[in-house]
Amino acid sequence: MKKPKKNPATKEKFSWELMYKQRFLLMMSVPFLIWLIIFKYIPLWGWTMAFQEVTPKTFAMSVWERPFVGFGNFVTAFTDRLFAQTMMNTIFISILGIGLGTAGAILFALMLNEIRMQKFKKFTQTVSYLPHFVSWVIIASIAKMFLNDGGALETMLGGARLHLMSSNSPMFWIVVCLINVWKEVGWDAIIYLSAMAGIDQGIYEAAKVDGANRFQQIWHITLPGVKPTAIVLLIMSIGSALNVGMERQMLLSNGIVQDHAMVLSWFAYVRGIGSNNYGLGTAIGMFQSVVGIILLFIANKIAGMFGEDKLV
């Protein structure tokens, strides 16, 4: 399944002549360049707030008048009692989410792939990715109805006290990730299903002739067949490891699990907008971006090591 290596002959050296030859193509890209600059680069100017005191006192001032605090906002953020906890939450929820999500999606795709009844397969697949299109607000209330103290799950288990949503402990990470798996598994499985569909049927035929049973076929043909896809997706998700969505966290959280539900983006919101300290919020957001970029480069390196094409 290795992608064909690019033919070195098609790579032309940069030259003004070439630029001129492709001038119409280049001109067509100008609007997107403008878009990129205006919406992606100019807003970076706002990062200056991370080094200034931006509180209600100084809101009305211009950028030049606001007091400069150096790395003061970063120090405040890093010494916050919740910062270490927030980092842990973000990273572990991310890793757990990627791990469980990938494993779940592959498992589900395998099961679907083995179904021989086409109608039933299509029906199951359609139902399974429905939750993907439902907003977190609704998913969260369904999940809470099911998992809360005294909720449906505890009732089914005969009134056991599981404290799934009421332990201020890392268990909340697992709960969140499992809810996420339930919501996204069908959708994520689509890409693996298509990868499985792309495996040459001849290989299966050959395996059958050699006497391989269904499990052996899965283990020796299907799984190796989807490996490249899995690796690419895994690596791509590392880059966005710190961008754990805050809406999901906020909606699923309650009074007691807050400490373990807090993630970086939410932390920036609470300490920045919530406390009217926009400098601090910007500093946290900036930290998140910088670490995100570093992770992206690491992921890109790893991709190269696995023999995949570099993504960036």
């Binding site: 100008v30 100019i42 509180t55 009692r81 009421s166 201020n168 009074g255 807050q258």
Partner: protein, 554 residues
């Protein structure tokens, strides 16, 4: 080649042009959207942090417009912990008038509020009359004696109604021959006996001893505040206990409160306290109370009022609640009726963006006038109330019943809808005609009691339910206004916010934990307080209270 270079230049030029447009948009001076409408009425934008949808179309609102020539365009937050005020400051985009509740300090720091002192002097005789001797309490702080806002809380109220420290269903009291539980132990015994005798309600639901609402800011009302009332016997000063020397202490570290939470923890583990409370939303909480299965609450009447209306409408009058002066032990006095003086620090303010401050203050002054107060509190004469031949205002029985059982009554008729957060006289204050400004007076409250309440008064041999409470004159009025409503500097707010975060999940954790781990959990919480600047905040808070006392004594 030349041609190409020309094209390449366009991008930065265009970008710069757009950029300039964006920046100039940010720089424009802030003015509000208020102005004269086509019908000659002045429309002012009003943001009400505690508001709900109001199209200004109810009869009282119409009448206010007729009298003052002003119509309010009311804006309100869509969710409980809305960041609207913060965003207003960031955008420098303010309404004409604002009730920002706890966000006042940031507005003042942003210079968004108008000093009303001179305006009141010129156009506000009724405002001055209303606040009388307590007018100086409206001053923002010792350092900044400007008046930025009026008070959103009633002036000079005599309490006729109060929910006390805890509430219990009449049905439970009746089974105990109206014996009033005085201490938590009495209450516990009463609840346990009743639950043993009636494990299910008439509708087949499991009986719940006590439940709490802790999923959002309500944790302060049902989990935080009762601890101070019940364990320390202190009135509401927010998260602070203020001693006789005006020193402040973050209240959850008091030993008395630890005992209260220990009791809650025991109740949880013994099945009296609802085992679902930690994860239920406020809606779940109200729904549970509305079903009549919750025997006792530690809440305030305004919080569970919606649920009681449902109970009344369903004919389950004996499932509504009796106020109780319960405390942790006999020697702690229930502070429910204690007077803390005028509550200031939260109220309606006029912003610097308002182009019509004189009109706005005149509008507020009209609300403070005798005529305005009667309109706001009683409604429109001939429709909501009548005056008998002796000049006494009274309401018909249908009107009283509607106001007690219809939860949209205030919104539909406008009666009482504009009392809060606008300035208003408290219950029991008399106007020059000898009628009280509000519909509540001792006689009116007695007359409006339902049959459960009347039966209880008879059993107790008192006129008012509150007569069984420690009375107002048993307490001294503190020299400072209630600390919970103070507009606190952001330094204190920042620390308090973190302390409250710790307390919120910490206290719930202590209550639902195992009894043998209670002390360890509680100690860990206090340790976390100490690590988050509790002592600094206590010092700053104490200094503010002391400064206010000094300012008022001058």
């Amino acid at each position: 080649m030349k041609n190409f270079r020309g094209k390449r230049c366009i991008a930065p030029v265009l970008a710069a042009a757009l950029c300039a447009g964006v920046l100039s948009g940010c720089g424009s001076a802030a003015t509000s959207g208020g102005g004269y409408a086509e019908d000659g009425v002045l429309e002012l934008e009003f943001f009400n942090k505690d508001g709900e949808e109001d199209l200004w179309d109810n009869p009282v609102a119409q009448k206010l417009t007729e009298k003052t020539g002003i119509r309010l365009k009311v804006d309100y937050p869509v969710a409980a912990d809305d960041m609207k005020v913060a965003l207003m400051i960031a955008e420098q985009n303010f309404p004409d008038m604002i009730y920002a509740k706890g966000d006042v300090a940031s507005l003042v720091e942003a210079g968004a509020l108008l000093d009303l002192t001179d305006l009141i002097e010129k156009y506000g005789p009724n405002i001055k009359k209303m606040y009388g001797e307590e007018f100086d309490k409206l001053k923002y702080s010792a350092e900044d004696p400007s008046i930025y806002q009026l008070s959103s809380y009633p002036m000079g109220a005599t309490p006729f109604k109060d929910a006390g420290n805890a509430q219990i269903q009449w049905a439970v009291l009746k089974e105990n021959d109206y014996q009033v539980p005085r201490t938590l132990d009495d209450l516990e015994k009463m609840l346990k006996d009743y639950m043993a005798a009636h494990p299910k309600t008439e509708d087949g639901l499991d009986t719940i001893g006590i439940t709490l609402s802790t999923s959002d800011w309500h944790w302060l009302i049902t989990l935080g505040n009762p601890a101070g009332f019940i364990a320390d016997g202190q009135p509401d000063n927010g998260q602070w206990l203020i001693d006789d020397e005006y020193n402040a202490m973050y209240k959850f570290r008091s030993d008395a409160e630890r005992e209260y939470f220990r009791w809650l923890n025991r109740m949880y583990n013994e099945g009296v306290l609802d085992h679902e409370f930690a994860t239920q939303t406020h809606e779940d909480y109200i729904a549970k109370i509305s079903s009549g299965r919750v025997l006792a609450l530690v809440d305030k009447d305004w919080d569970y009022a919606d649920a009681e209306r449902v109970l009344i409408a369903d004919g389950k009058l004996d499932r509504t609640y009796a106020p109780l002066p319960v405390t942790i032990s006999e020697d702690v006095k229930c502070p429910s009726l204690m007077s803390q003086g005028l509550t200031t620090g939260q109220g309606v303010a006029i912003t610097t963006a308002c182009k019509y401050p004189e009109e706005a203050i005149k509008f507020l002054d009209y609300l403070c006038s005798d005529e305005g107060q009667v309109l706001v509190n009683w409604g429109v004469e001939g429709i909501n109330y009548s005056v008998d031949e002796k000049g006494k205002r009274y309401r018909s029985q249908e009107e009283i019943d509607a106001s007690n059982s219809d939860k949209d009554y205030a919104k539909k008729t406008g009666v009482g809808f504009y009392a809060y957060p606008f300035p208003t006289y408290g219950n029991g204050v008399m106007d020059p005609t000898g009628n009280s400004y509000t519909t509540a007076s001792r006689e009116a409250v007695m007359a409006e009691y339902n049959k459960e309440q009347k039966a209880a008064c008879k059993a107790w041999g008192v006129e008012l339910l509150l007569d069984i409470f420690p009375q107002r004159d048993e307490f001294e009025i503190p020299k400072f206004s209630p600390v919970w409503a103070y507009a606190k500097p952001t330094e204190i707010e920042d620390i308090t916010k973190k302390l409250d975060e710790i307390a919120w999940s910490g206290l719930i954790g202590c209550v639902i934990g195992k009894p043998e781990q209670f002390d360890a959990n509680y100690d860990a919480m206090i340790k976390a307080f100490e690590g988050s600047g509790m002592y600094e905040a206590e010092k700053m808070m104490g200094d503010i209270v002391k400064a206010q006392v000094e300012m008022l004594e001058e």
